[in-house]
Symmetry: C2
Subunit: 310 residues, 2 copies
């Protein structure tokens, strides 16, 4: 019942937003990074990977939003145990601050039966819920001294330790690595395959499709009856050892499994639309909104992060 | 260069958003209010009116965003003097916290000549800049324990002292009083006239107009060559002494001179679109966005606040 959480001593704080830099050398300029994770399940591999990030932890704040479900309660307990261990461990590994938010979600609108019959409609409700979770987390945690926001899903279990520095080095408003998944292929060999289809370059076909849709309809990637002919970044990965990991391409849609955003893009108003925005939602809608605000979105087709494989 | 501003001790904070209530009895429930003011000029009358608000000041946080112009610098100095006096004065008058943000804005896109020729285009750039300022302020100051956000322009110099309680008592997601202006009429008598035209109920004509517009065009209120036939709340004020100050009407657009919003509406993602959103921008676009998210917008035609008269 106090404002202590909103407020910081001293009672009057004066910020010059222009002094909050976002540069290609974020460590040199001591820029703060807010890592935001919507979390339904806790994976120790996610936490271990987070701990292994070589960006100075005293410049990193963590924010989590966890649904108030049975699964969410279990995830909260595991997360708190991991946090307790890290924040009492070696000082260099401790993070500057951690916020955990719990949030109820509306009960599902449809019965299981209907759900089966309207899979795309379901997808819309699901992405709306994810958008609301991301927005709540973002609006609540971003502060006047935040330089960068790194969106990192709770099932991203492997990234280069230099993830933040590497993404920031491109000095782009919005930049997304390529999200793959490890698996064992038919020959029993360790292999990788594309995971996140939300990072794409638009196609004329998809634009025509949008032009003929009802206002609230959305285009979804990965449905057979809805071929978009977009260029999916996940499909263009060069997996060779001598690939150029710095290759960068312009994107129209971005995924959110791992996504670095200059905080000023969010401050300008770019959020995750929980409604059809140019027939797009959530992270894809965010990319559209960022571009409407004049910020470019970029992808690194040959720089990989890995999604958990159940 | 530290995260202290973002972070609060203790390093791990756990929030249950559902425990942050927004009720018709905000004082009884000790609900926190964040008063946000984009401020280009400082009026002592604004500050005096703010000080006179009877809502417990220890539950109120203030946030200001001030442009980095000559005028903005002067306003900052005056504001800081007012703050210093209040925050060292009687404890009951002190606010829980105050954040002042300074922000550069893009140089105007057009020469004065062009500005003269394209007034509506100018209006668009101006409302985009105001939207960005409001979004920066909002994203930076809203915290996990904020219950309500009161938008209050720096030139609102007279409101009932019970403004917050009165607006909150209606328990609406978004609610706006009627903004008038005092003036001396032709007969030399003290009189009032409508000031804010952005609180309105939509018309078929305006919807037809929107349907035939280019995607980035916006409908503006108050241009002779653009009659919208919307019902403007400012025009429907009952000024009689025995008026019903609790009369409440549904609105499609809202103004931001004084505007009470449940923080969860903003957390859901409702912000001030700096681009054409259903052919609307800024506070009118915010109302549309809130409604797209399922939150209703309401107005009090007979409950008055007053805008400065230069
Ligand atoms: N707060 C919250 N997080 C969720 C919810 N559902 C999934 N998540 C998390 O959001 C991220 C993306 O969800 P996920 O199911 O992995 O999506 P997918 O990999 O795109 O199929 C993951 O970090 C999940 O743990 C939810 O209802 N609420
Ligand atoms: N931060 C910021 N505030 C501004 C700017 N221009 C005006 N304001 C403030 O924003 C509010 C609305 O602007 P105002 O010019 O009064 O708009 P009007 O009354 O609708 O014509 C007032 O509180 C102004 O002091 C600006 O460029 N930046
Ligand atoms: Mn996932
Ligand atoms: Mn004004």
């Amino acid at each position: 019942t106090s404002l202590e959480a909103v407020n910081k001593p001293p009672p009057v704080v004066h910020y010059h937003l222009n002094n909050v830099t976002t540069t290609a050398d974020p460590i040199g300029n001591q820029e703060t990074v807010l890592i935001l994770t919507p979390l339904a399940r806790f994976y120790q591999e996610y936490w271990n990977n987070l701990l292994a990030l070589s960006y100075p932890h005293h410049l990193i704040a963590l924010g989590f939003i966890i649904p108030k479900t049975k699964e969410g309660n279990a995830a909260t307990i595991s997360l708190q145990a991991a946090i307790a261990s890290t924040q009492t461990g070696p000082e260099a590994k401790r993070f500057a601050s951690i916020i955990i938010m719990r949030q109820d979600f509306d009960p599902p609108l449809q019965s299981q039966d209907e759900a089966e019959r309207h899979k795309k409609e379901n997808q819309k409700a699901r992405r709306a819920a994810m958008s609301r979770a991301r927005n709540s987390l973002l609006f609540t945690t971003i502060g006047p001294s935040t330089s960068w926001v790194l969106w990192l899903d709770a099932d991203i279990i492997e990234t280069p330790p230099t993830l933040i520095q590497d993404l920031a080095s491109h000095d782009k408003p919005v930049i997304v690595p390529n999200c793959l998944q490890r698996f064992t292929n038919d020959q029993g060999k360790a292999d990788t395959r594309p995971y996140d289809y939300n990072s794409w370059q638009d196609s004329q076909q998809a634009q025509d499709m949008a032009a003929n849709m009802a206002p609230d309809d959305i285009i979804l990637e990965g449905y057979n009856d809805m071929a978009t002919y977009r260029t999916l970044m996940a499909m263009t990965a060069d997996k060779s050892d001598n690939r150029d990991i710095n290759a960068v391409i312009a994107l129209d849609g971005v995924g959110g499994t791992a996504l670095l955003v200059k905080a000023e893009v969010h401050r300008d108003g770019a959020m995750f639309p929980p409604f059809a925005f140019y027939h797009l939602m959530e992270t894809e809608g965010f990319a559209k909104m960022a571009r409407r605000l004049g910020w470019g979105c970029w992808g690194l087709p040959n720089y990989f992060v890995y999604h958990y494989n159940e």
